[in-house]
Structure formats: C-alpha cells, structure tokens
Symmetry: C2
Subunit: 199 residues, 2 copies
C-alpha cells in the first residue's frame, strides 16, 4: 500500500463515483471513504484483506467502491451491529484495523453531529454544510483499533451438496433441510402467474 | 425501460465491468447480469424499483452493476435463502418479477449444469466453456415469475433514536437494548491496542 499512502485521497473524484454508484453523495458514504482509507493504509502492502461492515447503511458502498471486496464475491461481510464502523483484515491471519466514528470528536463539527446522532429531522439538515464539515474534518472524526477477527470468520463456510427442492423445484443447499428455506416459510413474496393473474 | 428494451445486452462489455468490480468474470455474476436484465425489461418505464437477491453469491454484484440498487443505499436487500434467484419490484406497490435458474433447462448446457449443481470439483471445470455456454444459452437458462412482495418488505424500518453505548462508548440504535449488539456478545473481533499490543 506504499503507493496508496503516497497518493492523497481525492475526495471530489470519490464523491462523483459515490453519486454514480450510490445515487447521491450521502454523508455516510463520504465519511465511509475516509474510513476505508484509514484502514487500508495501515495494512502492509501485498496483504490480501477482507472487510466487515457493522451496518448496512452506506458503509458497504464505500468498501465496494474503494477495495476489491464486494458483497457478491464474499470478501465483504455485513454484520449488522448498528455501529457505524468497518474493518479490513488479513484474510488468512485475521489481524487488521477497525475504524469508527468517535463521538468525542463530533463536538467540533455540529452539522455532522446533528446528522450522525439524528438530533435534527432530515428536513432541517444542511447537506452542503455537512459535506463541507466532512471535508474539513477528514480523518479527525474517526478512531482506529487494531483488531483480531475471531477464527470462525476466517473459515470459508462449507457449501456442500446442491439438491432440487421437492416443493418449489429449484436447486438449494442440502444442508438447509428437506425443503429449501423459502419453502420453509421464509420467502419474502407470493408467486403469481405470468402474465399477472394472481393465483 | 423502452430504451433498455431496444438496446441489446452487450455481454462482453458487461464482463469487463464484472472483472473490474467483482475481481473476475465469475459465471454466477455473468448469468446474474442476464437475470437482472430479464427482470428489468419487464418493469414499466419510470417505475422506481427495489431488488432482492436470494443468495449472497454473485447475484448482489450483478444487481449493483446494472441497477441503481446497492446494499449501502438499501434498495438491494439480500435475503439468503440459498436459491440462485433475484427479483426487482415496484418499491411502492411491491409487484415485480422474480428470475431464477430453471434446472429443467440445464440439460442442454452440460458445463453450466456441472458448475451450477457442483457435479464436478472446481479443478475439473472448464471456465471458458462455461462462459461460452452462458453466452449461447442466454435467457434460456432462466424462468420468470410475477411476484408480489410481502408488505413488511415495503416498510422502511424505523431507525429510532441513536444513543451512546455505556460499554464501548460508540453510538448505536437505542432499540437494540441497554448496550449495543456488539457488547451483547455479537462482535466478530477482539479489540487490541494500536500499535499492536494485545490487551
């Protein structure tokens, strides 16, 4: 990551990428970009890393934009603990860095504080001021821990055999039981016929 | 989506985007691209849609590359049912389309079948043949259902108040309890000091 360390983070260019991928320059994804970078420059060059986000909000998009880790390739895992934090860690040994927003640091940035701690309704927030405070604050909003990931996170889960569900007729992992999880009642929808006659 | 319907899907250009985002041209993301498109062209122009993936494998990246829905903006939800299927649905009314790989259609494409149903070990799979069969098969691998999403998926979960966890000192949603979920034992790592003295 020597090259990364020497390259200043171009936050304006990053904001354009966020707008394209995430839909708008959400403060959470912008701060997330700073957080990803804080973790990434601490990982020794050449080390392959995985990522954890502790919330579904915003941070997964920052990780996916700035690192090789995505939800679909399995290198990014979302463990929804409700904390605005992420970590990058050596995928073989589990040592890495966790970056979080330290509430002690928010007093200098009242607009960020009001947004982050939801002290104002959305309509009362000044998006431009939030973004300019984020640019001014930079890494000063955040804290960093060195972390060691628990061993079970380093194991790649065994996928096992794929079989056909006798109920819906679709392939599913045999380990899930005699019928697939959707047919066990977890399906988020009801199937209708196509064209749209409800059955 | 009239424009989308009239534009042929440039699978080679899509494969280059997959390589850049996902890391390699994984068969699951390539088929996922065809699946996303099958759902997307059925949604009337101008309708805002959300997405569900029924697996963490590959499909979330196809959705994130080809639609405005991402994990971090909340328009894509992963509900891990172990089925290789996705759906796009009207975010207000919940009606949409679910696309899945129909195992009945796999017999014509033995290399895809062996990969998808894990009939061969990874080392015995011919990646180039899988991709050329995917290109030849196109949408013929898949089935489509019209679906109606359950009402609870249409509600945006109430985030509620943010408070400071008395245990770790970080902000978390008050609805999670007296301390945050990480401090309730769900943390995936142990914190070390920085620099790396283990505490």
């Amino acid at each position: 990551m020597e090259t990364l360390r020497k390259t200043p983070f171009d936050i304006d260019e990053y904001m354009r990428r966020v707008e394209s991928f995430h839909g708008h320059a959400a403060p959470g994804v912008i701060i997330g970009g700073l957080m990803v970078r804080m973790a990434q420059i601490r990982i020794p060059e050449g080390v392959l890393f995985n990522a954890v986000c502790e919330t579904l909000s915003c941070l997964p998009d920052a990780v996916q934009l700035l690192t090789p880790c995505t939800v679909g390739n399995g290198w990014l895992r979302v463990i929804d603990l409700g904390r605005f934090a992420l970590s990058l860690y050596d995928k073989h040994h589990g040592n890495g860095f966790r970056v979080f927003i330290d509430p002690k640091n928010l007093d200098n940035w009242p607009e960020i504080k009001a947004w982050f701690l939801r002290l104002k309704p959305k309509t009362g927030q000044d998006h431009c001021r939030i973004l300019s405070q984020i640019k001014a604050a930079g890494e000063n909003l955040c804290g960093v821990h060195a972390v060691q990931v628990r061993p079970q996170l380093l194991e790649r889960p065994e996928k096992g055999r794929i079989v056909i569900c006798p109920s819906c007729g679709e392939p599913y992992p045999m380990k899930d039981g005699g019928i697939c999880l959707a047919c066990q009642g977890r399906s988020p929808y009801v199937i209708r016929e196509y064209p749209e006659r409800v059955v």
